[in-house]
């Protein structure tokens, strides 16, 4: 252990951090969506990965087939994600609300599979090349480092997502209603809060964020593919790492996961990367299940 010399110099490590933060931003958005749903409904949305997929594909259709303006597409994807969230609550969540958690998980996985394959039927089984965002064609060199404009988009939109979420939950009436329902659903109902609305709103926001995440990662990679379960695993890992209790801890968990993946690949081993990350997940689950950034167990 003492013999270990860093494989890379500082510049390369910084570069690793940059790419780690980029991917981490996507994980952060997914984890944030998880958090919102969990905090409002106590449900862990095992179908969350599939909305990320759909976000990218919807964005693709709007940008490539309908050739709409980018900002319009972004807004539309958010809106459609929000609508999906409301529908998702009505059609999927409500019937399984009172079922045992184990069965809930199975149902959500089934829904994820269904929508993943519907996407494959509509857009084809192969991934699609997504056009770059505005001002993103060329990397920005900073000395010897390279910064991608897309990374700035990811970080920017993640922070925007975080800000909006915080504002909704703390600042608006519906946000207060969501938090009240989360706290004690019976009391909330007694106070006249329409819990169906709060659930819908929570899913709406979460799925909108997920859809946006899908669109934001696509220019770096591609749109589509059978990635619902891998995205779910990454998002969930990020949530557990950071902690599901607060929006901020979820986001930090996402960035942390991205950075750790990047650093572990670059500095330790690319062959055992998945095993390393999963072992870390197990450790956190066993030793600090509330997450690294949360102060108490929810």
């Amino acid at each position: 252990m003492l013999e270990y010399k860093l494989k890379m110099d500082l510049i390369d490590i910084l570069q690793l951090l940059i790419s780690g933060v980029t991917v981490g931003g996507i994980y952060a958005l997914v984890a944030l969506g998880f958090h919102i749903i969990y905090i409002s409904t106590r449900i862990l949305n095992f179908a969350h990965g599939v909305i990320v997929l759909w976000g990218g594909l919807l964005g693709y259709t709007l940008m490539v087939h309908l050739k709409l303006n980018f900002f319009l597409v972004l807004v539309l994807v958010l809106l459609i994600g929000w609508l999906f969230g409301i529908l998702f609550n009505r059609i999927v969540i409500e019937p399984i609300k009172y079922v045992s958690p184990g069965i809930q998980i199975i149902c959500l996985l089934a829904v994820s599979t269904v929508f993943e394959n519907i996407a494959a039927v509509i857009w084809g089984k192969e991934p699609l090349s997504f056009p770059p965002f505005p001002w993103s064609k060329n990397p920005i060199p900073i000395g010897k480092l390279v910064l991608l404009p897309q990374s700035l988009w990811v970080i920017g939109l993640t922070l925007v997502g975080l800000t909006i979420t915080q504002w909704v939950l703390k600042g608006t009436m519906i946000g207060k209603a969501i938090r009240a329902t989360a706290n004690n659903i019976t009391a909330a109902r007694l106070m006249g809060i329409d819990t169906r609305k709060t659930y819908s709103m929570a899913f709406g926001i979460a799925l909108a964020l997920g859809a946006m995440a899908g669109m934001v990662i696509s220019p770096l990679t591609f749109a589509g593919g059978y990635l619902a379960i891998p995205i779910l695993i990454k998002g969930f890992t990020a949530s557990i790492l950071g902690g599901m209790a607060a929006p901020m801890s979820s986001i930090l968990g996402g960035f942390l996961l991205g950075i750790m993946e990047s650093l572990a690949a670059g500095l330790i081993s690319t062959a055992y990367l998945d095993a390393i990350i999963m072992s870390l997940l197990l450790l956190i689950l066993l030793l600090r299940p509330q997450g690294l950034f949360a102060s108490k167990m929810e």
């Binding site: 958690p101 069965i103 519907i118 095993a275 997940l281 197990l282 299940p289």
Partner: protein, 337 residues
């Protein structure tokens, strides 16, 4: 009646095609694995996304014991189950602190780690390319090479496990488990050591799944890590849910449906009187998955007892229909004791 049943069972594989024998064999193997999961899910309500790893541990253990150490299959198979059970115990330890989704994630992490180890430890396990050269077992010098002979083996093991399981649940252990499932807090208050029973369940569940893995390895005579991904864990969950979660037949029924449904769809897709569009849909794997997912959801919501309930009702109804009102014996088939 039962002698007739046994007679049919013995003759049947020789009357039918190798294809159907292979289907029944797969159903048998998957049933054992699904029963393993059902033991866990049905008795503790906990989800495991790592069953594929136990299946794989059983498969690789049995394969390596017989090919590299030349151990006799009849020893290797139970050994494989025991090795899987040891890992089941280890994973089960996490269940002391974790529940539901968190436990599911822990089992998933275990599955992923297992896969990486298999893939990287190539000299030992054959790596990503897989392990070749696994042989069918010999029974008193007679190799179980034909489809029918291996089918008997699989279903024999399945019956053993089934009856062992059923009796287990009737005993004191069974009632303890039952009370744990219903209310952990109350059970603990009554002095039942909840964690100890959960641990035992995990171990047993892994044992059954490992045995299934061993049977699979010797059936296919070739195994690769691709068969033991999360995908298979999810398929097992679907089997148990569709079949009927707390029912001892649940694993068998679920496995049967998951194996038979694509065959049925494929058969229908070749019927020439159906319109071309429908036939295309029936043949596409993507559409199959959509159908399964919807089916699962519908069952979970509207018929939580799973197909077992339907089947026992159907058997009761049809036996009344065909054999007159007197014959009520089969209707108790699906009911839990």
């Amino acid at each position: 009646m039962s002698i007739f049943g046994v007679g049919v069972f013995i003759l049947f594989p020789h009357l039918t095609s190798e294809y159907f024998v292979s289907i029944l064999t797969l159903i048998g193997i998957y049933s054992i694995a699904a029963t393993g999961l059902n033991v866990l899910l049905g008795n503790t309500g906990q989800i495991s996304l790592g069953q594929a790893a136990f299946y794989g541990i059983g498969a690789y253990s049995s394969a390596l014991l017989t090919t590299k150490l030349s151990l006799n299959f009849w020893l290797a198979m139970p050994f494989a189950g025991i090795i899987a059970a040891v890992f089941g115990y280890i994973v089960g330890l996490t269940s002391v602190r974790l529940r539901h989704a968190y436990l599911a994630m822990a089992t998933l992490a275990f599955n992923e780690i297992f896969l990486v180890i298999v893939e990287q430890w190539g000299e030992f396990t054959g790596g990503v390319g897989g392990l070749v050269g696994i042989k069918r077992p010999n029974l008193w010098g007679y190799p179980l090479h034909s489809g029918a002979s291996y089918l008997y083996l699989v279903w024999f093991v399945l019956f053993l496990i089934f009856f062992f399981n059923k009796n287990l649940l009737r005993s004191r252990i069974g009632s303890a488990i039952s009370s744990v499932r219903q209310d952990e807090v109350a059970a603990a208050a009554l002095g039942i050591k909840v964690s100890r029973y959960k641990l035992k369940i995990f171990t047993l569940s892994a044992f059954y799944t490992g045995v299934a893995g061993s049977l699979f390895a010797h059936y296919s005579r070739f195994i690769g890590p691709g068969s033991f991904h999360i995908h298979f864990s999810i398929v097992l969950l679907i089997m148990v849910e569709i079949g009927g979660v707390r029912n001892p037949f649940g694993g068998i029924v679920g496995a049967a449906i998951i194996v038979l449904l694509p065959e049925l769809l494929s058969f229908c897709s070749k019927l020439s009187f159906l319109p071309h569009g429908i036939r295309l849909i029936l043949n596409e794997y993507s559409y199959h998955l959509i159908i399964y997912g919807i089916l699962l959801f519908v069952i979970a919501v509207f018929a939580p007892g799973g197909f077992v309930k339907w089947i026992s009702n159907w058997i009761g109804w049809s036996s009344r229909l065909f054999m007159g009102k007197g014959n009520q014996g089969w209707t108790s088939l699906g009911r839990r004791d």
